[in-house]
């Protein structure tokens, strides 16, 4: 039972990692706290529902996995260009509030397009059902989630460490003043980063949907948890996001066993504790 709960916690951590990674990335490179990040998560889930529903079956799921990040990434790029780019260099407050406005807009767009009833996204056959291991039954999908997150984490790490884009991003995170001096096209970089972050969030939305329902309010629900993760782990650090996601996911799952009503509160208590001890988060970059 404990083991099962631990697995649940890990798979939840996997979800959170996907979403929080995008948030942390955007903040690290662009110094923007994107409240609309949850919106991309939600939109991703809903688009997945439509695509998977239209095509049907396992193929539909695969199609969604490919299409969703691309579509949402594109939407995000446009959003960044229209709503956020004019605000660079302005007060951070304005940027924050702009993302808040965006969240409101996305919320209603989703409501308009898909209505208020909950939707379902079914996982393909091969990923459903239990897997047996030394007498215990574990949900196959949870394992898939964990695996997907690990793969993605590795992919992100590779991107950051090995590619030109990754090098630019890392420069943006640690030496923002240097960026333009070394000839990086900063606006374009920001658009790419923002789109990438959104795509990650959308993937998070997609892969977490089969375990629950897809409905309005997902955006608010996830953004709070994602914030908890990045606060704990530290904004701008991939390692921190991973650690934070693990902490939150596991603590939440384990708390459900003993203090079901206070599970979320436990997470927040940890967040407050971390902030009291290390205001930038466990691995966070200092604010300046």
């Amino acid at each position: 039972m404990l083991l099962l709960q631990l697995l649940t916690g890990l798979s939840r951590a996997a979800e959170l990692f996907l979403v929080a990674a995008g948030l942390s990335l955007v903040f690290g490179a662009m110094r923007i706290v994107n409240i609309a990040h949850g919106s991309f998560y939600m939109v991703g889930a809903f688009i997945a529902v439509t695509i998977a529903g239209t095509i049907g079956g396992s193929l539909g799921f695969i199609a969604a996995v490919i299409a969703v990040p691309l579509i949402v990434g594109a939407v995000a790029a446009v959003t960044e260009y229209v709503a956020l780019r004019p605000l660079y260099g302005k007060e951070h407050l304005l940027q924050l509030l702009a993302t808040f406005a965006l969240m409101s807009i996305f919320h209603d767009v989703v409501r308009f397009t898909w209505g208020e009833r909950p939707h379902r996204l079914r996982a393909p056959e091969i990923l459903s059902g239990p897997v047996e291991w030394s007498g215990f039954f574990f949900p196959r999908y949870d394992i898939f989630l964990i695996g997907a997150a690990v793969v993605l984490a590795f992919g992100l790490w590779a991107l950051l460490a090995k590619t030109g884009l990754g090098r630019d991003i890392r420069a943006a995170v640690s030496e923002p003043q240097m960026l333009q001096l070394v000839g990086v096209n900063v606006p374009r970089l920001f658009t790419v980063v923002f789109a990438l972050g959104a795509a990650l969030a959308a993937m998070g939305g997609l892969v977490s949907s089969p375990r629950g329902t897809v409905l309005l309010g997902m955006d608010v629900e996830i953004i709070i948890q994602a914030f908890a993760v990045v606060i704990i782990g530290g904004l701008g650090s991939l390692r921190g996001t991973a650690v934070g996601a693990l902490l939150v996911g596991v603590v939440f799952a384990m708390s459900i066993l003993w203090v079901p009503k206070a599970a979320m509160a436990m997470v927040f208590l940890i967040m407050v504790a971390v902030l009291l001890w290390r205001p930038e988060g466990l691995f966070g970059i200092p604010e300046r």
């Binding site: 709503a83 004019p86 702009a98 409101s104």
Partner: protein, 347 residues
């Protein structure tokens, strides 16, 4: 009322600002004679929002802090009123008097935690604290009735008719606004603005910045509770959604619309938002999107909000009518300085 006035303006008795306030008060006093009960409740909602938003202005507009916990303090105020009625049998009026102190205390404690963090993380931390309070209220069914909320609070018979309630709340609103205005026009208010502009420099002047920020946070929280109590009285009840962080968004929106740079901004914004929302939600389902678009437009085009835009306009008009600019004015309409004025690149 702009925060930087020329000496010419101060000496006149009938400043545009004073005329505006008086007219507003007059309209408010006469309203029950012309509108029906439903509209009275709408006006009461607007008044509550105005107090709530102005209390937030202390934190955001004056001190420059973004907090998402403000809705929680608002809810605490509402629940203070209803809970003491429900469990202790106290009169809601007593609860109303108590609410600001309870909210102030909660805000103070939250502030002690939240100010440990640097500015950007501060916002996120207030988010967490606000949600924590929300969750507590939501889950603690035995005391707060959780999701169901508390309803049907007995008001003193004098306050049962809508018109009487309206005048009571109007008086409460005026009192709150006057108190907040006095404290913000004081040296404390000026210091808070300086903290917003350049916290490091204020420290170099020998001022303990964190202490003042905490004071502003507490004061704002107390008045948020005051507004919450107003809500409880108006609706004869309270429910958890009041404390959700999205409630904290409302004063932000209102301040943006009305303008972050003046005392009257949130009031103007509250009136505009309250009336607009009521109208639109009755005819059109997608209020959030409309709000979001309006906000984006304001952020992108008129970061100073309506009040500053109108100040710019009146300043421009005045300059045109006076010929050459006499002395120095701080509102410069034509040269695109219609920003919040925070030209220092923060952090």
């Amino acid at each position: 009322m702009s925060r930087v006035m020329s000496s010419a303006q101060k000496d006149r008795l009938f400043t545009p600002a004073r005329i505006g306030w008086s007219l507003l008060l007059l309209v408010a006093l006469l309203a029950p004679l012309v509108v029906g009960e439903r509209q009275l409740f709408l006006l009461m909602t607007v008044m509550t929002l105005a107090v709530f938003a102005t209390s937030y202005n202390i934190i955001l507009g004056y001190t420059g802090l973004v907090s998402f916990a403000h809705g929680a303090f608002y809810g605490v105020g509402a629940y203070s009123t209803t809970l003491v009625w429900l469990h202790l049998g106290w009169s809601p009026l007593l609860g109303f008097a108590l609410a600001p102190f309870v909210s102030g205390a909660v805000a103070y404690i939250s502030g002690l935690v939240a100010f440990r963090a640097v500015r950007l993380y501060f916002a996120l931390l207030t988010l967490g604290i606000g949600q924590l309070i929300y969750i507590i209220v939501f889950q603690w069914r035995s005391v707060t009735h959780g999701d169901d909320g508390i309803h049907g609070m007995d008001l003193p018979t004098l306050l049962m008719p809508a018109t009487n309630r309206y005048y009571f709340l109007l008086g409460a609103t005026v009192l709150a606004l006057v108190l907040m205005a006095i404290s913000m026009r004081s040296p404390l208010g000026a210091t808070l603005q300086a903290i917003r502009e350049n916290p490091d420099r204020v420290g170099f002047l020998g001022v303990k910045v964190k202490r003042y920020s905490l004071a502003a946070f507490t004061l704002g929280g107390a008045f948020a509770g005051y507004a919450g109590a107003m809500f409880a009285l108006m609706n004869r009840g309270s429910f958890p959604l009041l404390m959700h962080w999205t409630t904290s968004a409302e004063p932000i929106f209102v301040s943006l619309i009305g303008g972050l740079n003046s005392f009257a901004g949130p009031l103007v914004g509250a009136i505009v938002l309250g009336l607009l929302r009521d109208y639109i939600t009755r005819h059109f389902l997608y209020w959030s999107a409309v709000l979001g678009v309006v906000l984006l437009v304001i952020i992108l085009r008129m970061p100073g909000g309506i009040v500053e835009a109108s100040q710019n306009l009146s300043g421009w008009v005045r300059r045109r009518s006076e010929g050459n600019g006499n002395g120095s004015r701080s509102e410069e309409a034509g040269n695109g300085q219609a920003g919040n004025g925070q030209e220092r690149d923060d952090q």
